[in-house]
Symmetry: none
Subunit: 312 residues, 2 copies
DNA sequence: GCCAATCCATGCAATCATGCATAGCATCCC
DNA sequence: GGGATGCTATGCATGATTGCATGGATTGGC
């Protein structure tokens, strides 16, 4: 089967190829070194050695950094393919990994990262002390295909076929403000009473306004004098009486310093999905964390299993 | 362009992946080591380290050798893709032979052009008949930046940053004359014996005199009754007994019609550099010729690789 | 049953690669 | 124009990797 495969063609130093790839993608040796957790001189020497080895000048040394030559531009395409294959190797390896100990990376919104994950991760530390946990708190959807995280907590069903998702809970969100703030407003009762109210804004402001208006509100940008892209900051602002904030009920209802702005309005209901890459689902470690999250999130959110049917 | 690609997923040791691939394909560490030109323990340790790194047992150690586990069987598929990409990298770097065709221009001193290059260029004709060769025989340094030639053979390290040089050999030169001429002089033994001798001059006569006097001679312009700027003519004059000439030992020592004037004096030693423009170094054609010259010049000159260290 | 061949694992010395600290340089901003 | 900040290149000491030599073990053949 393997009569006489010639391995000399691949006998150049593959780590140098990796150094070249990351340097090309990051644009400078220093940035690449930071990304890889290596020293800059090391990377520089590896790139130089690869140029020597292949007999190709890959980069033009310019003061701003390194710039790909035409030859380098040609080669980086092939090396990129190598890197993508390497990513699949790593993905499959984690999936095959029979040891629980290791690193795992979870991405979730800032609110979930701050209020939902900590008690669960404390449990995880007890159950499996050998697992190193990294939490990527981000309100933008991270790409699991590129392995930006192993497990994601999201509020929508994953669309990509290589991702598998599990609907684990229902979450609810409502408008919150301090009791003082509401008293000053005269205890609003209907969305109409909020037409002149001060809200605290988030990123994607127009999208938020459209969403609320679709629910019967009549708001515009002038209602949002204060704005932040950070949801935790947003929440703290609401708690300090700076305006009306939007947040999950499991937080707001338990916060003695906050009250629902419109107690008679039904909260917004949305699903909570756990998402992981198919390859990773076979990993004992990923499996363990995934199952723990699936078990604990519903109880922490006080989610009724019956309610999940509405999102199917 | 893409904000923050996460490279941790590819940060495992790629060389270990290569070790794993070749071992899996060849069926044993020993065979893989032979194929890669490495030692068997090295490869064994790399595979073990990869297993450690990925947390996956790749091979079952059986008496006959190594056998892939099911996990390894899964992983080898992905690593094979990596290897194939590596092959394309190497291919793109090495270049296909059909793109080699074209014109190339080499500049060298007259002596080298006449005595050193011909046998090498004959080889080149055999290897790559599609390459048209131009030899610029010149004792003045041609400007590679202005593309006066593609490759230069020089006796000094290139100073301009856009030129890259490779120290390929050590050359030696000595004073030569015909045996008859020496007998007539009474067989000189020391530089002092040559104070009244007839030398054959070259261009830059004063520079040559200074150089020789720095080596213990006591010469002046009146020792140079005959002078020519052409080194080949210079050499032929020496061969015809017109005086003492200076020339490379690899020529003089093999010439039955010539003998060293001072056999006990150490020859002048100087480095042989191959020089090319950085940009041209990426050309497959230039590379091919460059490498051929780098390989053949040392053996033609009988240069000891150890001697090169003196010029570093 | 023994010898030869082949395989993997380990000890050890030399080599190579790495990281740190630093120098050299260009650029940007005040 | 000068200080701050980004980059790459180099010297040097340390630590990791390599190759060689060797040991232990199994298979196959005579």
């Amino acid at each position: 089967m393997h009569d006489c495969m010639d391995w000399r063609n691949v006998s150049f130093d593959w780590n140098r190829a990796r150094a070249f790839l990351v340097t090309a993608e990051e644009g400078s040796l220093s940035a690449a070194a930071r990304a890889l957790g290596m020293a800059q001189p090391t990377l520089g020497r590896q790139v130089t050695a690869l140029e020597e080895e292949l007999g190709v000048t890959l980069f033009e040394r310019v003061p701003r950094g390194l710039e790909l030559t035409t030859a380098g531009l040609d080669l980086v395409e092939h090396v990129r393919a190598m890197g993508e294959a390497a990513g699949r190797v790593s993905m499959a390896a984690t999936g095959q990994s029979d040891t629980v100990d290791g690193q795992i990376s979870i991405t979730a919104s800032e609110i979930y990262s701050a209020y939902l994950l900590p008690p669960i991760l404390a449990q995880l530390r007890d159950i499996a002390p050998g697992i190193d946990i990294e939490v990527v708190a981000s309100n933008t959807v991270r790409d699991l295909k590129r392995r930006e995280a192993d497990i994601a907590i999201r509020n929508a069903r994953p669309t990509q076929p290589e991702l598998i998702g599990k609907l684990v809970a229902e979450d609810r969100a409502a408008l919150y403000a301090t009791p003082d703030f509401l008293e000053q407003m005269g205890q609003p009762q209907t969305p109409d009473d909020l037409r002149e109210a001060d809200f605290i804004g988030l990123e994607n402001l127009d999208q938020l306004i459209d969403g609320l208006n679709a629910g019967g509100y009549e708001l515009s940008r002038r209602n949002f004098a204060i704005q932040t892209e950070n949801h935790l900051v947003h929440w703290q602002m609401a708690r300090h009486g700076l305006g009306i904030g939007i947040g999950p009920c499991h937080l707001g209802d338990r916060d003695p310093g906050l009250a629902r702005v419109l107690p008679n309005e039904e909260p917004i209901r949305f699903p909570v999905w756990l998402v992981a890459h198919r390859e990773l689902q076979t990993s004992r470690r990923v499996r363990l964390v995934f199952d723990l999250l699936a078990k604990e999130i519903p109880s922490l959110l006080g989610s009724d299993p019956e309610a999940l049917k509405d999102f199917a």
